[in-house]
């Protein structure tokens, strides 16, 4: 796919339109499909003829499915964009949004919250968020000083802190009662089933400013990828740009994890998939990750709900099972 003749703005709009279309279909399906009924015709009528369905259906669609679809959209968008930013900041294709200690810290916070028996939202969410903020500060402090926040020192600090947190998590699990273990496991795998509109609103208000800032720094990310010296000699204020991106991305990922648990695989693989399709320009990749990552998660959540006869598969299973083959397919296609 060669886009080089068109200007960047028209390319961004083109990509955004394609992905918005896919996202719209995914959301439509997400609202139509579910364990109680499949209402494609109902949804069609609602969307195109403004027909009001009966109250039961209405409740299911708007009060149960809509928050869930919105949370899926937002978590997919945040994790994909977060993964993209960390891959650029750390100049490492294996970077993912939890890499700077966020997974360790938030898990400990969440587990403590679940063990104490407080409510999922806002209690456990707040605890998880606090936990990830603590580990973030630890990572920044550990990698400062002589090493002065280089990408390698941040990466190492993040890995070490996550490893240490894993030990604490295993300990906490070992001493909890079996009734709570199920909740903990579901949180650790990522869980969209307890979404509600309050959560969705708060998350949306938190992450939209983050997306805007990240988009404005997308060209700086392109320059950062040439290496620190090159970026500096091109006029990029590296400390400022790195600092802003780090704080903002960590904030939005932590906020998402607080609500949805540790949804895995999305943040690592979706940026790579989009890069294979649309190229390495972050001005295109940032909107692509927001829309494409959101669509991906909505589709995976949909499958997680409708594949099994009863109940649902954890959505993290689906994101990995679809993502891995898709990535390999695109990688092989690119090589020929």
């Amino acid at each position: 796919m060669s886009f080089s003749e068109k200007t960047i703005m028209s390319r961004i709009i083109q990509v955004a339109l394609i992905l918005t279309f896919i996202l719209a279909i995914a959301m439509f399906a997400g609202l139509a499909v579910g364990s109680s009924f499949n209402g494609f015709k109902v949804m069609w009528n609602i969307v195109f003829f403004a027909e009001k369905p009966d109250p039961v259906l209405s409740t299911i669609i708007w009060r149960i499915r809509l928050p869930r679809v919105l949370m899926a959209l937002m978590s997919g968008a945040v994790l994909s964009t977060g993964g993209l930013v960390f891959q650029a900041l750390l100049r490492n294709p294996l970077a993912e949004p939890y890499i700077l200690g966020i997974s360790g810290g938030s898990a400990i916070g969440a587990i403590i919250g679940i063990v104490l028996g407080i409510s999922r939202f806002p209690g456990v969410a707040a605890a998880a968020f606090a936990g990830s903020m603590v580990t973030l500060v630890l990572v920044v402090v550990m990698s400062s000083g002589k090493a002065s926040l280089t990408k390698d020192s941040m990466l190492l600090s993040g890995v070490v802190i996550n490893a240490f947190c894993s030990a604490i998590i295993m300990f906490l699990i070992s001493i909890t009662q079996s009734s709570q273990i199920h909740s903990i496991m579901f949180w650790l795998m990522g869980d969209l089933s307890s979404s509600d509109m309050n959560q969705a609103w708060i998350l949306a208000l938190s992450i939209i400013p983050c997306f805007i800032v990240i988009f404005f720094l997308s060209h700086s990310m392109n320059l950062l990828l040439m290496g620190k010296e090159m970026a500096h000699s091109m006029g990029v204020n590296i400390k400022l740009v790195t600092g802003i991106l780090l704080v903002i991305s960590s904030f939005m990922v932590s906020a998402t994890v607080a609500d949805c648990g540790l949804l895995g695989f999305v943040g690592l693989v979706v940026p790579h998939i989009l890069r294979l399709v649309f190229g390495s320009d972050h001005r295109i990749l940032v909107p692509a990750c927001i829309l494409g990552g959101g669509a991906y998660m909505v589709i995976c959540d949909l499958l997680a709900r409708c594949i099994p006869q009863q109940g649902e598969i954890p959505v993290g299973v689906i994101t990995a099972m679809i993502g891995a083959p898709l990535f390999i397919f695109l990688l092989k296609k690119g090589k020929t």
Partner: protein, 273 residues
Amino acid sequence: MEKAISINSLSYSYGNDRVLSEVSYDVEKGSFFNVIGPNGSGKSTLMKVLAGVLRYKKGRVLVSGKNLTNYSGKELARHVAYVPQTASAEFPFTVEELVLLGRSPHQGMLGINSEKDHFIANQAMDFTDIKALSEKKIDRVSGGERQRVFIARAICQQPEIMLLDEPASSLDLAHQIKLMDLLERLKNETHITIIMVSHDINLAAMYSDAMVLIKNGSVVKQGSAAEVIKPSILNDIFQCSFLVDENPAGNCPRISPIPEKFKGKSSIFKFQS
């Protein structure tokens, strides 16, 4: 006439490690200037200070007549282009995308390319003969081609001064000469000042208008190639025996380091001291 670069008593330390001591020299505008010296002499550090990558505290550096510390990041990037020794390529951009990144110091935050930007990038790619590679990903091009891509990117910055840190060190002999010819042509056509760190003293001698020899962070000798490249100076600095004669291909000195086994056959060779 205003000098391109004027360095006065520049000192730089990495922590407690003194790397540059009281370095002072000038570079004339539009000249081809080489910095030579043994490994670890501080040449790369000097380049990084001039590029604004490292902040110095002691001494004074004037770039195009203005104090280096008074330049903002982007402003300096419009005057000085830096081609470092290594460049990372974890996320492959295409050649054209990379060359266009050189226009960033002239653009806003989002780096939107205007027609003028595309025109300048095309000119730069034509000049460096890489137009045919524009759609290729940077990790798929050869070493010689990659160097030309980075030089094209530097040209897009429209600088007055271009700093190159050992640009030819990983290239074969033919590509080394081609690269140097390209830089010479650039200097002649656009009157840009070229400052280059080089391990290859012969290459430096063939192209430089002036050079400076650095050891242990201090200037040992500066002047024309003929003034700097003398066995009496080089033997001591590099701790090696050199033979210096006239390059048969042109009017410049040529050095040959003498291996152990050839020493003592001095009657056959003519020495210059």
